[in-house]
């Protein structure tokens, strides 16, 4: 469904993605792991053209795009057909939870308000915020804000949703509610690409795990392959360190 090939991205002279390829099939839950600075976030942002990659191609069903030469129309189409959930939620602060979800439907998709609100209410109910529709972002907890962010992403019925460290900005006790929503979406067959440090999510929900480091994909496979039988030394090191951190917290 979605295939990225040979993606190169520079920040100045610093090459943060050194020829990354990624394939996502319908219904996949792909989790991207890796130390910070490995290019995971930049990869997601480049696919959605929030960053302009210097090299590489994107194939999205019938759409073929050479990243540096993407036309406005193509960029818009990719964004219309995908959803994006940000680490810092990035909710529209002057809009209520419901208006956050309906804004894109009304402004970009030109849906009638009534229809947009019907979709918006359903989306908020799905993430468990049926009773918070008229709240402004500042009146919501981080976990609730991120769930509004997810509702905003699913409201447009995207073919794939990108999650960029969706729980990294949250207090530990709020992470669970966001992960629960994501698990629910995964069970329903939503195609998801998730950058996260939540190993339990990767182990229990993903059907494909990608380990990135230093701007390249080091290793990819099923969760079982990666977590119990990693081939690459860098992957093993990373998993050992993560596990040690978990023990340390306990």
């Amino acid at each position: 469904m979605l295939r990225v090939e040979n993606l190169h991205k520079f920040f100045g002279a610093n090459e943060v993605l050194k020829g990354v390829s990624l394939e996502v099939d319908k219904g996949d839950v792909v989790v991207i792991l890796g130390p910070s600075g490995s290019g995971k976030t930049t990869l997601l942002r480049s696919i959605n053209f929030l960053e302009t990659a210097e090299q590489g191609t994107l194939q999205f069903d019938d759409l073929h795009i050479h990243f540096p030469e993407a036309e406005k129309k193509q960029i818009r189409e990719v964004r219309m057909r995908t959803g994006f959930v940000f680490q810092n939620y990035n909710l529209f602060l002057n809009k209520t939870a419901l208006a956050n979800v309906t804004e894109g439907l009304i402004t970009a998709r030109k849906l009638p308000r009534a229809e947009a609100e019907q979709i918006g209410r359903a989306a908020l109910q799905k993430v468990g915020l049926g009773d918070r529709m008229e709240y402004y972002p500042q009146q919501l907890s981080g976990g609730q804000q991120q769930r509004v962010g997810i509702a905003r992403a699913i409201a447009t019925n995207p073919e794939v949703i990108f999650f960029d460290e969706p729980t990294s900005a949250l207090d530990p006790e709020l992470i669970g509610e966001v992960l629960a929503v994501m698990k629910k979406l995964a069970r329903e067959g939503t195609t998801m690409v998730v950058v996260t440090h939540e190993m339990s999510f990767a182990q229990s929900v993903a059907n494909k795990v990608i380990f990135m480091a230093g701007g390249v994909v080091v290793e990819e496979g099923t969760p079982r392959q990666i977590f119990t039988a990693a081939r690459e030394e860098r992957t093993k090191q990373f998993l050992r360190r993560i596990n040690r951190e978990v023990e340390y917290i306990i």
Binding site: N48, F49, L50, R76, R79, M80, T82, G83, F84, F86, N88, N90, L91, F92, L93, N94, K95, E103, G104, L105, T107, A108, R109, Q138, R152, A153, T156
Partner: protein, 221 residues
């Protein structure tokens, strides 16, 4: 106080206030509105990083902020006729004040737009909205709240700066006072009087600002 002075102050009050209401205030309001539009354009082309226009905007701000308002008024009213552009005093004043306010408040607006928590523009893009849609519906309403107090600063400032238009023959409040002072030889009383009327105008504006801030609930966190 002498009776003569009291009578003069009372008589002149209306003679000064009327051009104040009929010229100073409309001149201020029209110039400010046009100035804000100029400022918005100037700020947005810089935020959107439109090459060429961005440089032009910086150049414009540099020129206007770097030269005295009085000199700008003289150039537009007395200078441009040399280039074959003759303007009446009031249009010349409006142009000068709008450009002046535009340059200063473009910086206010630019700062306010940049102060709106980033990422919302990207979030707009990700739900399929364009730059201008996201600006109009998400970013600018928030930026306007941030910019509101400093914009009122500029508005109050402009109210008083319109007195400079007296130099290019606009018969506004200050010129009306000058004329009466020249006739009656009471500059101290009359210039204090006109100062007092400016103060009245600005007091009303200060009240308006407080009211506006309450309406925008700027006082709430």
């Amino acid at each position: 106080m002498e009776d003569r002075l009291v009578t003069l102050l009372l008589q002149s009050f209306a003679q000064i206030l009327v051009p104040g209401l009929l010229v100073t205030i409309p001149l201020t309001v029209v110039s400010f509105i046009l100035g804000i539009l100029v400022a918005l354009g100037t700020a947005l082309v810089q935020i959107a990083e439109l090459r060429g226009l961005k440089q032009l905007a910086r150049f414009y701000v540099w020129i206007v902020r770097g030269t005295p308002l009085l000199v700008q008024l003289y150039i537009i009213f007395y200078g441009l006729p040399n280039l074959g552009i003759k303007l009446d005093a009031i249009p010349a004043a409006i142009i000068a004040f709008s450009l002046n306010v535009g340059a200063y408040t473009s910086e206010t607006l630019r700062a306010a737009i940049l102060a709106v928590p980033g990422g919302q523009l990207e979030a707009g893009y990700c739900v399929g909205m364009s730059f201008s849609q996201t600006m109009r519906r998400i970013i600018l309403p928030q930026a306007f709240k941030i910019a509101f107090p400093p914009l009122f600063n500029s508005f109050i400032s402009l109210t008083k700066d319109t007195s400079l238009a007296a130099n290019i023959t606009v018969l506004e409040m200050f010129m009306a006072t000058q004329r009466i002072a020249a006739r009656t030889y009471e500059p101290f009383a009359l210039y204090c009087e006109v100062g007092f009327i400016y103060l009245l105008f600005c007091t009303v504006l200060t009240r308006l600002q407080s009211y506006g801030e309450r309406r925008l609930s700027l006082n709430k966190a």
